[in-house]
Symmetry: C2
Subunit: 707 residues, 2 copies
């Protein structure tokens, strides 16, 4: 089913039944009834309870069959064991969507997984959509359709607004909604997907992409279960001009272990997830705070005031705050360009002691004279050397005199520079903040948070404007590889050469004469390497010799190598010795591919040697990648400068590297059913061309993994 | 003067005169009078104003001479031009300390600097201490001695508490005080040092180290002007068992530029500052938020409940929060050890569906049954596999029922496990938070913030327990170096060899015969290198040849090199050709020293090649360093594993590396007046021994810099 399809009945229901409705408003079967009534849901509420004719003052029904109509949505608030039957009854009654609060399914192991499968089967049979199980349900704020038992609504319902929240974790989603609400930021819809036996996070994103009430989509993810659906949903949101902000949890080893025991879902590689988001226009945030602040700022600045680049101007009445913001800005990749001479002159004419370059320190004079404030702000906002302006106003809004001075100036700025994004770094009384939001100013309390949000806003704009990813055309499944491909490096390289990767002209020889002959044909110096499926670490057994300069040297080395290897690894099967020309180049890359349990074949590149590992400076992408994407992977390496001719080095043939990455990625897809891993270490880059010096292809021990 | 001496009159004055006292409470000469009265300062207040007999209801004096006594403290709130005279009068009258609010001094250039010097001279003549100029003054919260015009006090005075704040930036200090106050954290003293013409940040730290009201010292620094005084003050705080938490601003290039125009102070290297703090037991924080949260937590946990290590246990009623905290913990270097089998068994007996390893997810059951909560918490807190416990309670305290459940359990835990540090990740009503603080629980609202603080608390404990830095003994000034030392690499290496650094046995020769002779004496293969003061980049002019294997080859190469260099660099002075043995090793280091404008001679080490630069993986310290400190520099490198035998490599001779670093650091100190920079690139590390292959010594063009 296409992501998001059939969710209207869940997200905008005209009638809601509660199976297991309770008189007690603190119980999970009682809280939705209470909340629906308390917040005046306008649709029909049908409590279902076989034992009570009235629940919380509403007429109750003994069973689904007794309802006057098939409800749009049924909430299942019964024990796990009874849930499958309840869901089957809903499907039978023609209910269009259900939410299953109950826990005790796949997260508890095999037996629970079987029960969960029953839920899915029942729902899929009639096309009824199912949210959960083990979830906190959904809320449509504007029409007060509250299908949740989250305690955060006990306190109050969030104001209606344009942030849509979709979360796998119920508590995390609830907490996000609560924080947004406390922060004065309105919410459109809220959905928690829990075990995702039918509706998943991709459904939520896609539905919100079509929802007129939602401008920005906030997403809390623990595990991606289906990359294809997620990509489709992200693409739909991008096409709709709605930013998707993603907080992914379970990124650390400890966090992944905790997430696995929490949801029972396999975690794919975090780096691949990251690459997927970037490739499809979503923006990843690092914390709940950033999720909410960025959502807030984006919802105010959309559709046409996102910063067009990373150039920041800062105007402050305090030098210290200017320095603090300059530090925070640089830490997140923003630049502080010097303002134009005209702007600087204007500022210095107004306040001779000011610092006018950027950050502008207009000194305390600025806030004591309303005319100065307005003129200085206008000059900076009018200067097109910056893409976005940040104005720190610590504690100013708490002082009635300063508050009115600033409000007046800011109203003037909005009226005269309606296209320019200005962000306020400020805390203050809620009514003052609400006034600023209504005027079109995002407000963020912390300095670091403010710069992080500005940087993310610029990334949002870049993602929205980026050309859509032209994925390489579909790759056909390839014929099986020869056994030799898995047996030794020469076999592996031959298989890769067939796939378009550049390799050395090597020969496998079975005696010293053949070795000497091959060497003299290819030209000295040469390298000898032992060929054996049992010796992945050839150097350790004396199985590599380099720089051999004559036939005599080759003969002698061949003999010595065989006896050395025989002594050190007596049980290894020896297929012969590989003779290869000595190759010299400028840099070395490590290329690899493997099968991610969630994302399928992925391709990886890093600088060779041990640095990729120690500095974790590698790039990864779902395969296949185009040459353009492969180049983006290379340029994302911190070590890219090394390849590109830093410090007087010659530039390596990056085009050859890019073709090799793309070719390997196609190979990984074409052989995904039989190859679990490819390692090319190193791929030698020359000034012209590249060549794989060593390679390993690891077979899949079983068929494609199921999960 | 010893840091902190003579500050009692400033920080605990029995009488305060305000020079330039104003009737208008919003003026800088009026606000202190207003605040002293409003917050009931118990000492004498003496407004000084030649034109008004009464100021804000208090008797005013026409001049200092008319005061009935010499006040402990005089506030100077007059224009910059009048300030020197006012300060001189204070000194003459026997005033013990002054605060100069006025700006318009060194931050505005030479003329201002001269006026500022007058202030210093006047103060120093009588030993009167002077705070400022261009500062926001000082506040002693407990005795309500308010010598500031900061607007943050208009709203309210912070509660008295144990955080002492000392800041160079007035606004940053004010903001810190205000945020602490809003956060429910009490403040002892507040001091802003501004241009620091007399009292500096070191004075503030040292005085707070002796102040019984202060337990934790919060420090906002823009620029260190005197490293020696800062070290003395940090040492005093460490000896007093008081943590010093430092927020340094102006760390980025943009921030440093802004700071320079803001205060007129030179910025020393941020990396050296960082190393100085670590070496002397201070802990650096990354944001104002972290400064305040860490100060808050430390003040509650001191003296004996700081976490003894980085092992964290998390107990939560929500899986999602557990995962989030696990991620945040790993990101800051905390570990989440698996709890003991006994603890896990206890938890699973209480809640069969719980995750019991760590993070403990005790599910929503935990908070619905008070008995469970208490038992599970007790089990985790009692388990000594963790050093610190974090309990996330999002929105729980807002629900009266949950609040009372948690309060009861937490009271029980404090009573039964009084020595164990438990941190709550929670926001809530101020009275609930205050209750928790009084019980001994630090509370931190954000997840990331919570883990950052826990990690910093563990660092605080480690810093407090670390053996004191055994600085190498004083280094005598050395005899001047020969001209040759500055002329070419052989001269540089000879000078370094005299200082104990290992170098190759090389020879400088003036003709081909001598080259051949030298080569055959040292044994083939050899290297030839051009020796010239004009050719720092020898390779670019063809001035390096390696791997020469015979006398004939040496002769020929010698001749070719001279003619090649003559053609490419006809104007270069040629001192001859250096003949050196080929050296092979395991790894290469870059060693260097230079003169930091603030910190003096510093020594630097990084992995050789271009990686030190690209990955910014270098370590730096004030010179001299001991061998122990040099080893700490090496182990702090991310690339340390490479040196130490990662991935089957042989371990390099780290002891030789350490001796070279220490020797270079002593050389840098001994020659600080004549040498501005030394570069050893590379220092080749072997399995046994090390050797400098190339070196450069750059002379100081003038004497030591003044600032």
């Amino acid at each position: 089913m296409r992501p998001g399809e059939g969710l209207d009945a869940l997200m905008a229901p005209r009638s809601i039944a509660i199976i297991g409705a309770s008189q007690d408003a603190t119980k999970i079967g009682g809280r939705p009834v209470d909340l629906l009534r308390r917040y005046s849901y306008a649709g029909q509420i049908y409590p279902v309870n076989p034992k009570a004719p009235v629940v919380q003052g509403l007429q109750a029904y003994a069973s689904l069959d007794e309802l006057p109509e098939a409800p749009d949505l049924a909430i299942i608030a019964v024990d796990a064991e009874k849930a499958p039957e309840a869901v089957e009854q809903c499907a039978g009654r023609g209910v269009r969507s259900v939410v299953v609060f109950s826990s005790g399914f796949a997260e508890l192991g095999e037996k629970g997984r079987a029960m969960q499968d029953r839920l899915r089967v029942a729902a899929r049979r009639t096309g009824m959509r199912l949210l959960g199980p083990n979830c906190l349900g959904a809320v449509s704020v504007a029409d007060r359709a509250i299908a949740t038992f989250s305690i955060v609504l006990e306190h109050s319902l969030p104001a209606a607004g344009s942030l849509g929240i979709v979360s796998q974790s119920g508590n995390l989603g609830s907490f996000t909604m609560r924080m947004a609400s406390d922060r004065g930021v309105g919410v459109s819809r809220f959905m928690t997907t829990g075990n995702e036996c039918d509706i998943d996070i991709a459904d939520g994103i896609a539905w919100l992409a079509r929802d007129p009430a939602t401008k920005v989509i906030l997403c809390c993810v623990e595990a991606c279960r289906d990359a294809g659906r997620l990509i489709a949903a992200l693409t739909e949101a991008r096409d709709a001009g709605k930013p998707v902000l993603v907080l992914k949890i379970g990124t650390s080893a400890a966090g992944q272990a905790a997430a696995a025991s929490h949801t029972g879902a396999l975690a794919g590689s975090d780096a691949v997830f990251d690459a997927l988001l970037a490739r499809h226009g979503a923006v990843r945030v690092r914390s709940i705070e950033e999720l909410i602040e960025l959502g807030h700022a984006a919802s105010i600045l959309l559709p046409d005031r996102l910063p067009k680049g990373p150039r920041l101007a800062v105007v402050t009445a305090s030098g210290g705050f200017g320095v603090l913001l300059a530090d925070a800005a640089q830490a997140v990749g923003l630049s502080l360009p010097e303002l134009s001479e005209a702007t600087q002159r204007t500022i210095l004419e107004l306040v001779p002691f000011a610092s006018a370059r950027n950050p502008v320190d207009a000194t305390a004079q600025m806030s004591s004279r309303p005319d100065l404030l307005q003129k200085i702000l206008s000059a900076v906002v009018a200067d097109d050397r910056s893409d976005v302006i940040v104005l720190p106003l610590p504690f100013s809004l708490h002082m009635p005199r300063l508050r009115s001075v600033y409000m007046e100036a800011l109203r003037h700025i909005r009226a005269h520079y309606p296209d320019r994004p200005v962000i306020l770094c400020v805390d203050g009384p809620p009514d003052a903040l609400a006034e600023l939001h209504a005027m079109g100013y995002p407000t963020i309390a912390s300095f670091d948070g403010c710069c992080a949000v500005v940087a993310a806003l610029a990334r949002l704009q870049a993602a929205a404007k980026a050309p859509k990813d032209a994925s390489p055309s579909a790759i056909a499944k390839a014929l099986p590889l020869s056994a030799e491909a898995f047996r030794h490096e020469l076999g592996a390289k031959r298989a890769l050469a067939d796939a378009g990767l550049p390799v050395l002209a090597e020969q496998l020889v079975s005696n010293a004469d053949a070795a000497a002959h091959a060497a003299s044909e290819m030209g000295f110096p040469v390298v000898l390497k032992i060929a054996s499926p049992d010796l992945p670490h050839k150097t350790e057994v004396g199985g590599v010799a380099i720089g051999l300069r004559s036939e005599a040297e080759v003969r002698q080395t061949h003999a010595e190598m065989l006896s050395r290897v025989a002594a050190k690894a007596p049980h290894a099967a020896i297929d012969g010795v590989i003779v290869a020309p000595m190759a010299q180049g400028l840099s070395e890359l490590i290329l690899g591919s493997r099968i991610d349990p969630v994302f399928g074949p992925v391709v990886m590149v890093g600088l060779g040697g041990i640095f990729a590992e120690i500095f974790q400076d590698t790039a990864v992408q779902m395969a296949p990648v185009s040459e353009t994407q492969a180049m983006a992977m290379l340029t994302s390496l911190r070590a890219f400068a090394v390849l590109n001719g830093a410090r007087g080095r010659r530039r390596a043939d990056l085009e050859a590297a890019v073709q090799a990455i793309a070719a390997l990625s196609r190979f990984a897809v074409a052989h995904a059913e039989s190859v679990s891993e490819v390692d090319i270490n190193p791929l030698l880059l020359k000034a012209e061309g590249a060549v794989a010096l060593d390679a390993l292809i690891v077979p899949r021990t079983s068929g494609p993994q199921q999960h």
